[in-house]
Symmetry: C2
Subunit: 193 residues, 2 copies
């Protein structure tokens, strides 16, 4: 029983909603996002959001999941060169400000101490990164290498998270992304020497 083959347009509608939702959530967050605006941007009726995703919050979760899949698909593991890893990650975040904002909204939204269900895949991904980083440095994965991975992630993410602070601290020099990336890379290289 049941529909084996869904409508052709179903997938397209869903994808259009996800894309429109990504923009809307990145701009305004969960509380500030407007369901009507998402539907309008997607050129789709509002009710379809509830048909496909159930609620505004679940749509947000779907957007986050998709963005994270994209990130892991596009960024290689730390591997043998942590310095290069930070540089690549820095560039990726800088060129994907929507993703950065989504991560921030998410961090603010789910502030609980415990992990949400369905995040096991993220734990696994991070464990793999940790293993890759440790292996590249000729060490075994540990809390210490984990903290290093966390620190490197922070160094790459922070400039894209706090662009306003960068402008306040650096003035027009905040626009010199190359200089920032090089200086951060040099910082990491010196620290790991």
């Amino acid at each position: 029983m049941g529909a084996m083959a869904p409508k052709v347009s179903t997938a397209a509608t869903r994808a259009a909603l996800l894309e429109a939702a990504r923009e809307e959530f990145a701009s305004y967050g969960v509380a500030g996002a407007r369901v009507d605006r998402i539907a309008e941007r997607a050129g789709v009726n509002k009710e379809r959001i509830y048909g496909h995703f159930g609620s505004k919050e679940k749509l947000f979760d779907a957007v986050i999941a998709e963005a994270l899949d994209d990130l892991t698909a596009r960024i290689a593991l730390p591997g043998t060169d942590p310095v290069d890893y930070v540089a690549r990650l820095t560039d990726y975040y800088r060129t994907h400000p929507d993703l950065v904002r989504l991560l921030m909204w998410e961090a603010l939204n789910y502030r609980g101490q415990d992990l949400l269900p369905g995040q096991e895949d993220r734990v696994g991904r991070c464990a793999r990164k940790n293993a890759s980083l440790a292996g590249g440095m000729g060490r075994t994965p540990s809390a210490e290498t984990g903290r290093l991975l966390f620190t490197l992630t922070g160094l790459a993410l922070f400039p894209s998270m706090m662009t306003q602070l960068a402008r306040i601290m650096l003035g027009d020099a905040a626009d010199d992304h190359d200089a920032m990336r090089e200086q951060v890379s040099a910082f990491v290289a010196a620290a790991l020497k």
Copy 2:
């Protein structure tokens, strides 16, 4: 003409509103915050918010300004020991999660390229920190020392911003704040050697 001496309770009402608003905004952000809830928490009529601050957004600005004043009053300048500065800053942020969340909401809220009016004091504060850091290292303030200051700020802030990511990456080891602070300090020390 004009009230020379405002009512005694006026200042108390205002302070109660600011404190209630700080909690509410830290929890829910500007869009998610509820004016009625702030008034209730403060034990004050909602209308007083508009009498004192004019609007929800302006109340948010007042909360931010107060929190930043508090931060600069309590944290000494980088001075001669950048490593110690990062450690102190890390502790301050970790023990003031509301401030960290406010900074994040603010960063997400004002995403414009240009500085908002009335942020000249922040620019001045950062310039002073930059001068202090550069002086402590026997150098003159420059874009390079500014970027270093920015990086150090990031290292201190990031663990308190992304506690959920820390939990995902580190598991229970995320609770070991001392280890994190020490490892970050060592990282900075090695980088600046």
